[in-house]
């Protein structure tokens, strides 16, 4: 109970802090939403009128508190750019990004953990160098480049999906997931590499511990020790890492969304910052904060299941 309460408090504080900082950031950077809306046809009169209409002339704190009040009563405001309620704008994109994250997560988890374990057998051998080099390559190659390549190979050559035509999630879920799959692969490659690298060092570290030596000297098969004991102990750091990866996946998906033409949150966030669409940016930033804290919490809870030592109030 206390744990849940603490977590919720952390969540609220994070969201508050993040929204405040975002508001403050917009005060500091140049760019005026009214000017951006009117563009090069702006006259000083039109500009003044629009600013007044948008309430931009009120002092900073007044605007922030007004937004906060709206937020807690469920009203996220109206997008400056699209003139529709912010939630209406965000909801469909949230869905799309959510599914893309789910597919990415499945990919990352299913591939990196067995891969890390399997790569252990190369430690110290000649193939280790190849493995390390390949891993570095996966981390270093720019997502944009991989995206275009995949889009071309699987979309144009193999015709497995149609680049530029993202199917509606509600009318054709299967096709949409298929389209998301390729984008998710792009997103996952560098993250798989990072997770594998991280897990590998953890596993190596664990294998050198005393209990492993004991187990092996008592006649247990090396492989069995690896899978049954070491893996479990290495998983906690992997789970935490995966939690963090999931958290930054949402913001890091901009490029992939643009390349594959996926109407997700990343694109919306970047476009809204560019056009100074404050209400949308605020809402997105708070959602992201929520997502980050949520991912961290879930990771913690999973870890507690894996490793009883981590359970609060319990003994090993």
């Amino acid at each position: 109970m206390k744990y849940a309460l603490k977590r919720i408090l952390t969540l609220l504080l994070t969201m508050l802090l993040v929204s405040f900082l975002t508001f403050a950031a917009f005060e500091l950077i140049s760019g005026d939403p009214a000017q951006t809306i009117l563009g090069t046809e702006a006259t000083p009169e039109l500009l003044a009128a629009l600013r007044e209409e948008m309430g931009l002339n009120r002092p900073f704190l007044t605007r922030y508190i007004s937004w906060l009040a709206g937020f807690f009563s469920g009203n996220l405001g109206i997008s400056y750019r699209y003139r529709i309620p912010v939630w209406e704008l965000i909801a469909p994109k949230l869905e799309v990004t959510f599914w893309m994250c789910v597919v990415s997560f499945v990919l990352i988890t299913v591939i990196s953990i067995p891969l890390a374990v399997w790569s252990y057998r190369f430690v110290g051998g000649p193939l280790d160098f190849v493995r390390t080099a390949f891993n570095q390559l996966c981390m270093a190659v720019p997502t944009f480049f991989v995206g275009i390549l995949m889009s071309w190979l699987f979309g144009i050559v193999l015709r497995l999906f149609v680049p530029g035509d993202f199917p509606d999630l509600h009318t054709d879920f299967g096709a949409a997931l298929g389209h998301l799959f390729f984008a998710a692969v792009c997103l996952s490659i560098p993250r798989i590499a990072m997770t594998v690298r991280m897990m590998r060092s953890t596993v190596i570290g664990e294998m050198q511990k005393a209990y492993v030596r004991t187990a092996i000297s008592r006649g247990n098969d090396r492989r069995a020790v690896l899978e049954r004991h070491v893996l479990k102990n290495s998983l906690t750091s992997a789970v935490t890492f995966l939690g963090q990866t999931m958290a930054e996946l949402v913001g890091g998906s901009v490029v992939v969304e643009q390349v594959f033409g996926i109407p997700g949150l990343g694109r919306l966030l970047v476009a809204s910052i560019s056009t100074r669409d404050y209400p949308v940016v605020e809402a997105l930033v708070v959602i992201l904060a929520f997502w980050v804290v949520l991912a961290g919490t879930v990771a913690d809870l999973v870890n507690q299941q894996i490793d009883p030592r981590l359970r609060l109030g319990g003994d090993a």
């Binding site: 950077i29 140049s30 760019g31 005026d32 000017q35 951006t36 809306i37 009117l38 563009g39 090069t40 046809e41 702006a42 006259t43 000083p44 009169e45 039109l46 500009l47 009128a49 997008s79 400056y80 750019r81 699209y82 003139r83 529709i84 704008l89 469909p92 994109k93 499945v106 988890t109 299913v110 275009i148 889009s151 071309w152 979309g155 144009i156 015709r159 497995l160 999906f161 149609v162 680049p163 530029g164 035509d165 199917p167 054709d172 299967g174 096709a175 997931l177 298929g178 389209h179 799959f181 643009q258 390349v259 033409g261 109407p263 694109r267 919306l268 476009a271 560019s274 056009t275 100074r276």
Partner: protein
């Protein structure tokens, strides 16, 4: 053991997803669209803000909504104005009085018939006749509007020959309040729906008063990344992409696509802040003009596509365009150095070029110019900024030394391209100030006849060139890629995309 089973399940789940993706694909290929008589066009950026035609000012929005709205008159691809919502137009008293006869039976997309109320409402709203700020400042010349039955008489405060061009302003229903999100007009296409950052759908309006559009439906898909647009064409998701770069055009195979070339109808230039040293010295500005090689820029950054310019006017406005000004400053490094020395900068100087980073063409141009300026001893530093910052710092506050952008006109008056260099203009971000220019401008807007007005405008262009107000570069080419079978594209002398003439040629 348990983990093994879990892993297998997950992998199976993954594979099922993949298979589902392959099997359930029902992409609307070009074949399907041909049969349904519809097309999908690529939009490089989302339409800005409100779709209300009197409030939306972005060129990108206007060129699409050109198909949804019309004014009392509308432009043709030759640059003429023809009656649209009006059936007859008479200009009397040398441009002091304009008489419009309302066309019978013109319908709005919501089924209502257009009546004089709507016309008065639309014009009044833009001219600020109800006391509010005019949405189109130039309409402040209206002194009186009188409607008698189907005849509207507009009297101006002084004769103005360009007034008619402003009557392309969109006629909208007087009693409809959802123009922001569900616009209603009288054009050949009606607005159906819009998905933010994704697409806009237009459908043919069957009750259109004039020649109906040939296509049934047009979907405009927003694709920001250049490379994705090519893939969109190749994958069959798109039928048409306009404003393409030459590199992209070359990637398309002739078997499937044809590329049409028009011009963007804008003035791209290295705009100089005339109020800031050293650009306040005409010799320095002239030196820059000699130092910059326009054709070099066109060849290097645009593969030879583009029309060089020498002043703030482009070829499509034929009667105003003075071609002799284009080569007023031929590429001459020696002359440039000489002028710089005279002005007191024998070893050149340092300067910054602020570029809006979202317009790759301007960034590319800036890089070529920086190279060219190095030859005369000028070190130019590129400062890329995002669009909102550019609008704020460069356009609104004139906080810049030099910048590269393209300025357009949204109606067919020379005034739009030249008025911003008048000292009093609120849009004078280059801070150009010349007494002779201001005098000419005052004479131009009150000119008695068209010939005189055209002559004065030409003199103003000459003034800009001789005083090297800016380093004019080019009117960029507009390359449009279309799927083979899709025909009917005509280029307009404005930023306008005419969808009504497009058709599938079977």
């Amino acid at each position: 053991m348990k983990k093994r089973i879990l892993a297998i399940f997950l992998v199976l789940g993954m594979m099922l997803t993949l298979l589902a993706g392959c099997g359930g694909k029902k992409a609307t290929g070009p074949e399907k669209r041909k049969e349904a008589n519809e097309i999908t066009v690529c939009l490089p950026q989302d339409l800005d803000n409100s779709l209300d035609p009197h409030k939306s000012v972005a060129a990108g929005t206007e060129e699409v909504m050109f198909n949804v709205f019309e004014g009392l008159v509308k432009p043709t691809s030759d640059g003429d104005l023809v009656p649209a919502v009006a059936s007859d137009v008479r200009v009397e008293n040398g441009g002091l009085t304009y008489v419009f006869t309302l066309r019978q039976g013109v319908k709005f997309h919501n089924g209502d018939t257009v009546d004089m109320q709507d016309v008065l409402f639309s014009i009044g709203r833009c001219a600020g006749l109800d006391g509010s700020d005019p949405l189109i400042p130039a309409l402040s010349v209206i002194s009186d509007m009188k409607a008698e039955g189907d005849v509207l008489t507009i009297t101006l405060t002084q004769p103005n020959l360009e007034f008619l061009a402003y009557m392309t302003l969109e006629i909208i229903p007087a009693d409809y309040d959802k123009q922001d999100t569900e616009p209603v007009g009288t054009g050949p296409f009606k607005f159906v729906s819009r998905k933010a950052q994704d697409s806009i759908v237009l459908e043919r309006f069957d009750d259109y008063w004039g020649t109906p559009a040939k296509l049934d439906k047009v979907t405009l898909k927003i694709i920001e990344k250049d490379e994705s647009r090519i893939q969109g064409l190749q994958s069959g998701a798109l039928d048409m992409v306009f404003h393409m770069t030459s590199t992209q055009a070359m990637q398309l195979s002739e078997k499937d696509f044809h590329v049409e070339e028009g011009s963007m109808n804008l003035v791209q230039a290295l705009y100089l802040n005339n109020a800031v040293k050293p650009f306040d010295d005409v010799r320095v500005r002239q030196a820059l003009c000699y130092a910059v090689d326009k054709q070099g820029i066109i060849d290097l950054a645009f593969d030879g596509y583009g029309t060089p310019l020498g002043t703030s006017m482009f070829p499509s406005f034929a009667k105003y365009y003075d071609e002799s000004l284009t080569d007023y400053y031929p590429h001459d490094v020696a002359k440039a150095r000489e002028l710089l020395t005279q002005a007191g900068y024998p070893d050149g100087f340092e300067m910054t070029i602020t570029v809006p980073s979202n317009y790759q063409q301007h960034v590319d141009t800036a890089q070529v110019i920086a190279d060219q300026l190095r030859e005369v001893g000028i070190t130019a530093k590129l400062v890329p900024v995002e669009w909102a910052t550019w609008l704020d710092e460069v356009y609104k506050k004139s906080e810049f030394e030099s910048t590269i952008t393209g300025l357009t006109s949204d109606n067919m008056t020379a005034r739009k391209l030249l008025e911003r260099f008048d000292t009093q203009s609120s849009k004078n971000f280059t801070k150009y100030s010349d007494a002779a220019y201001d005098e000419l401008f005052a004479k131009a807007i009150s000119a008695a006849d068209d010939a005189e007005q055209v002559e004065i405008y030409r003199q103003m262009e000459r003034n800009l060139t001789e005083n090297a107000a800016n380093v004019y570069i080019q009117d960029m080419a507009d390359l449009v890629a279309m799927r083979n079978g899709l025909e009917g594209l005509t280029f307009y002398p404005l930023y306008a995309l005419d969808l009504s003439a497009l058709y599938w040629d079977n």
